[in-house]
């Protein structure tokens, strides 16, 4: 059974809907990411799950109970805010113990519980620190510890690593994953960083202008995006216009203009495509290689990235360059080749 179920939830703030007919299922214990560009409605959706906003329509259920109208302080969720929202008038210990008041623990038990949590987030010995005496990474841990302390059914994280520099962010990603495994709580993480979403999560939902476009595990999302927006958002990709000619058994034939007539596995086509449809063929830069024969092009720009480099190759009859990722190319004009197995067929719109 699904643990968090969001059914046809919409929300607007007077204008067009910010969250538009979103349905989503998250399993117990899952590390789930909500990925999307800035302003696509991620925070709004998260705030509806936490109870800070009420959906205009639709329902939110957690562990079988309808939560749609339950106020935030009665929900089994806790949130790590984008701004961390550490209480400035309390020290680290009191911040972390804030949500435990109702348990009425004896002093020793409370101390032991908070100390254990401080150890989990590696803040041992910092309990007495004031909120204004913490580094960015430490604040992030305090916010995490404070939320985990209440053992929520779902932990909501709103771009928890967004304020950290790159190194710290990468270190915290590893730690966040380890903490999630240790506590076994369902994590719902909001991010606009696709690498973060792909490297941390069991599954990712890609959000675009208030809609969920695709929900899948990171590998499928990368290898089998279901539409142009997802393919574009997750890593770099080349698109070619083409027409679907026919689907015969396990293979499909397409007319790809300057690439010629190609045959690819029918499984690489997005569902719902029919012969005669105008489609987009997509291929990742690392699946295009320099060869002795094939489409002729010229290298317009190159970025050295260590073992692999990134090239923009101009080819005749196409205005955008083709992105190629690979080793050093031969001198002069180049030939581009790819295996048709790597092509993905996507609808042109929607």
């Amino acid at each position: 059974m699904n643990f968090l179920t969001i059914t046809n939830v919409s929300k607007s703030f007077g204008g067009p809907p910010v969250v538009n007919d979103v349905s989503l299922d998250v399993a117990r214990g899952e590390f789930f990411a909500l990925l999307g560009a800035s302003g696509c409605g991620k925070t709004t959706l998260l705030r509806m799950i936490a109870g800070f906003e009420t959906p205009d329509s639709g329902a939110i259920r957690i562990d079988g109970e309808d939560m749609t109208m339950v106020p935030p302080h009665l929900r089994p969720t806790n949130m790590v805010f984008q701004s961390y929202a550490i209480f400035p008038h309390l020290n680290v210990f009191d911040n972390i113990a804030y949500g435990l008041r109702k348990l009425k623990l004896p002093k020793d038990a409370l101390r032991a519980k908070v100390e254990a949590m401080l150890a989990t987030v590696r803040l041992e010995g910092l309990g007495k620190r004031g909120a204004d005496q913490l580094s960015g990474g430490q604040r992030q841990r305090v916010a995490l510890a404070r939320a985990l302390m209440r053992e929520p059914k779902i932990l909501l994280l709103d771009e928890p690593l967004g304020a950290l520099d790159k190194r710290l962010r990468e270190a915290m990603q590893v730690e966040l994953r380890a903490i999630q495994r240790k506590v076994g709580i369902t994590f719902l993480l909001v991010t606009h960083d696709q690498e973060e979403a792909l490297s941390l999560s069991d599954r990712v939902a890609v959000m675009h202008q208030g809609h969920i476009l695709q929900v899948a595990d990171p590998r499928s999302l990368y290898e089998r995006p279901n539409c142009r927006e997802v393919a574009d958002f997750i890593g770099e990709i080349n698109f070619f216009h083409a027409t679907l000619r026919e689907i015969a058994g396990a293979s499909a034939t397409v007319n790809a203009g300057l690439l010629g007539i190609l045959t690819l596995p029918a499984a690489n086509l997005a569902p719902g495509l029919k012969p005669g449809d105008h489609i987009l063929l997509a291929i990742r830069p690392e699946h295009v290689r320099f060869a002795d024969a094939g489409v002729v092009g010229e290298i317009a720009a190159a970025t050295f990235l260590g073992a692999r480099s990134h090239f923009h190759v101009k080819i005749a009859g196409r205005s955008e360059p083709v992105f190629v990722s690979g080793g050093a190319p031969p001198q002069g004009p180049v030939h581009l080749a790819f295996s048709p197995d790597r092509l993905i067929g996507l609808p042109t719109a929607g």
Binding site: G51, P71, H73, N78, Y98
Partner: protein, 263 residues
């Protein structure tokens, strides 16, 4: 050269500000009926006279009562209004703020006169309660300005974080909003108290037979013989005001040291 002129100017300015004020304590210890130089010896009899004056004590009591009630009410009203203005996007917020602040720009004499006529028209007797009403008009804008400034530096996620951690609106107020607003609340209480305590015109129109301290002092000025005693009273009020202002600044600075944002 330029520095010297500036320094001179600064001294002249300070003298202009403080010499008249210092006249008060100086003459309050002067052993003479007449306010004139040269001074003629040290005495504390004017202060002793204050202790014996029951009318004065009654007026002081009235002023304290009005001041405390006004300070509490205007700070409470200011607190709720400031929270509404800073936390919710409401229609007409700008207009409402304008109307609330308007009494700041209406001369007190007009305010006092209109309230006097209003109370008369409604048939309410003149009393200290009327004075409190008048003072609220004057004090709520001050409270609002102080408290809005404090709320604006306050991350609203902090209150949401408290709700998220299981506290309802009331407990969130006591555990987060109130402690973080405390310096603003204290500053507002002191400011509105002082404003009410030395307000004369509105009180003069509305107090009826119950004099507040400024009205009492005004009445005493008709008797030249009692002038030194009024000076002694003025000196005490001056000392207390300075103490209050220092206290208010101290409390406000307590708040400045703690950042208001959770980030």
């Amino acid at each position: 050269m330029k520095n010297k002129t500036l320094l001179l100017y600064a001294f002249a300015y300070l003298a202009f500000l403080y010499v008249p004020v210092l006249v008060l304590p100086v003459f309050s210890f002067n052993d003479s009926q007449f306010i004139a130089f040269p001074l003629s010896g040290f005495t504390t009899r004017w202060y002793a006279g204050l202790l014996a004056d029951s009318a004065l004590q009654h007026a002081l009591g009235n002023s304290l009562k009005v001041g405390v009630v006004t300070a509490l009410l205007s700070t409470l009203l200011g607190l709720t209004a400031a929270r509404a203005v800073t936390r919710y996007r409401l229609r007409g917020t700008g207009a409402a703020l304008g109307f609330i602040s308007l009494p700041l720009f209406i001369p007190d004499i007009v305010l006092g006169l209109s309230l006097l006529m209003l109370l008369g028209a409604v048939g309410l007797p003149l009393s200290l309660a009327g004075v409190v009403l008048g003072h609220l008009l004057v004090c709520v804008p001050f409270a609002l300005i102080v408290l809005i400034a404090r709320f604006e530096g306050f991350d609203k996620n902090l209150e949401e974080a408290s709700a998220d951690l299981g506290e309802d609106g009331w407990m969130t107020f006591w555990r987060v909003t109130f402690p973080l607003m405390l310096p603003g609340i204290a500053a507002s209480l002191l400011l509105t108290f002082i404003t009410s305590f030395d307000e004369f015109l509105v009180a003069y129109f509305l107090s009826g037979t119950e004099a507040t301290l400024p009205i009492y002092i005004w009445g005493q000025l008709r008797f030249p013989g009692r002038l030194p005693m009024v000076l002694a009273l003025g000196a005490i009020i001056l000392g207390a005001s300075v103490a209050l202002v220092v206290l208010a600044e101290y409390v406000r600075n307590l708040g400045v040291k703690k950042p208001m944002v959770g980030a």
